[in-house]
Amino acid sequence: MHHVVLERWSRRSSPLHRSDPRAKIFVLLVFLIVLATTHRDLLVIACALGGLLMMGIVCSRLPLAGAVGRAAVVLPFSLAFAAVCWLAGDPARGVYLAVKSYLSALAVLLVVSTTPLPLLLRGLEALGAPRFLLMVAQFLYRYLFVISEEAQHMAKAAQSRGATAAGMVGQAARFRAAAGALAVLFARSYGRAGDIHRAMLARGFQGHFETVTALRFRRSDVALAIGGSLAPVALRLAVERLT
């Protein structure tokens, strides 16, 4: 599955993998702001920024084709709007939409696939994102696959009972059956959450996650933060100066 690939990538080893998540998040923010506010010469700047991202991907020893393809997941939605803009006689805006959404997705992909999610969330927390939300997000990610698997099992069970065979039962009955399945899934998730919380209390949960290692902001991270955030700004200024 898609997410598992990113998870595997994020556990590889490279200078970018080893650098502090806070530095990477900061560079990502600067990159996104530069990208989002670009309007003049967007295509040239986009090529330059895209090149920068490719360099990052190669440096972090990720498969280039795989990363480039995976970021395209964002495209169906933005391409639809781009096509609509095109048909409505504004092709430039359509291209802008597609280019911006693709590059931003690629940039996020680069950061996410060089930082394991728990570390990324810790970096976000250190940068001031609210702990409560991050803990919810972490639980969400942790149990996403558990609950999804449960849903898949239920869907398969319903199939093997013939519940989804078209024509055998009426639409209304199938609708009710699906609602019932969701209700059961809801109740099970709810119950599971209670169990999880009791187990956590039993293990001495104090309201926050303890981590094995502390985040360390090394000299190389300072270099990454400064160099990485200056690069897109410099590229953009250079392109705007030249044209």
């Binding site: 996104l32 959404s101 931003s104 996020v108 199938r174 956590m200």
Partner: protein
């Protein structure tokens, strides 16, 4: 600019953090996972097509609206970060549309009529409204950022179909839930006065919906003309546009500086909304 808005939107949770106790963390996380997983269960919707639950309203009815906002925010963030779904540049706008405006506008009918004759209607319209209002917001934002109105008509039609579907699914699931175990669907405490800021959020949602309708029905280049007529009108438009702008409003050839300041104004606005919601969350702290 809503890259900047993200931390502000997240201000809700910062407020919530102080009030919700930690026992709710696993619950909210697992219920977020549930909403993800719910996409795998298909509902028949007419000939050969199927639909699935989006969940904002259902969460609001069961966990309460502040908690639902936090869960939906986490869902949208994970979706954008891990699944490259939705896009990071529109993350702020998405959270605003679905987690804030969608959840709260879906919660309102339920808040007013959670018992009695109108209960089913309230649940249905809550589900439908949560989709419809967030869709209208999204379309209005796209319109404001310069996507032609004609283009948005098609998507509006899609949302008009999916809104009652979400309503029907939400109602069916709520009914089924109550059949399994009554008590999941929480009833807002009767006799409690509606908090002023909750009302404000609801009114904002309705206002946004009205703005959306206005923009989609107005002459396509109305705003552009308005923007050119006078500097004041332009500034006002920018102010209105920025909190919701997925992409920058690019047809005004404005400088970096002005855009940045407009973005900051939007940021401040959103932060204000978040603070208000945080207050509401504080006022309605309940144990599960």
């Amino acid at each position: 600019m809503d890259v900047l808005a993200v931390p502000a939107v997240i201000g809700i949770a910062r407020q919530a953090q102080r009030r919700f106790d930690d026992s709710r963390v696993p619950l909210l996380g697992v219920m977020g996972a549930f909403v993800f997983a719910a996409q795998m269960i298909n509902f028949p919707a007419g000939i050969g097509t199927s639909a699935h639950l989006l969940g904002g309203a259902l969460l609001a009815f069961t966990l309460g609206a502040p908690a639902a906002t936090v869960v939906m925010t986490a869902i949208i963030a994970i979706q954008a970060l891990v699944f490259q779904d939705g896009g990071i540049l529109v993350l702020g706008a998405n959270i605003l549309n679905m987690a804030v405006v969608g959840v709260w506008s879906g919660y309102l009918p339920f808040r007013f009529a959670s018992a009695g004759r109108w209960r089913n209607a309230a649940i249905f319209s809550g589900g439908a409204l949560s989709v419809l209002v967030s869709a209208i917001c999204a379309l209005a934002e796209l319109r404001l950022s310069g996507v032609p109105a004609k283009a948005l008509g098609v998507s509006a039609a899609v949302f008009l179909i999916s809104a009652p579907l979400e309503g029907a699914i939400t109602l069916a699931v709520v009914k089924a839930l109550e059949a399994i175990q009554p008590g999941f669907v929480r009833r807002p405490e009767p006799g409690r006065r509606l908090h002023a800021s909750l009302l404000a959020v609801g009114l904002t949602a309705i206002f946004l919906a009205a703005v959306g309708v206005l923009f989609s029905s107005a002459a396509p280049d109305g705003i552009e003309k308005l923007g050119l007529v006078s500097g004041i009108a332009e500034r006002a438009r920018t102010l209105v546009a920025t909190p919701f702008a997925g992409y920058e409003t690019s047809f005004l050839a404005s400088s970096w500086m002005r855009k940045t300041s407009a973005g900051l104004a939007g940021l401040a606005l959103i932060y204000g909304v978040c603070l208000a919601i945080g207050r509401v969350a504080a006022a309605r702290k309940r144990s599960v």
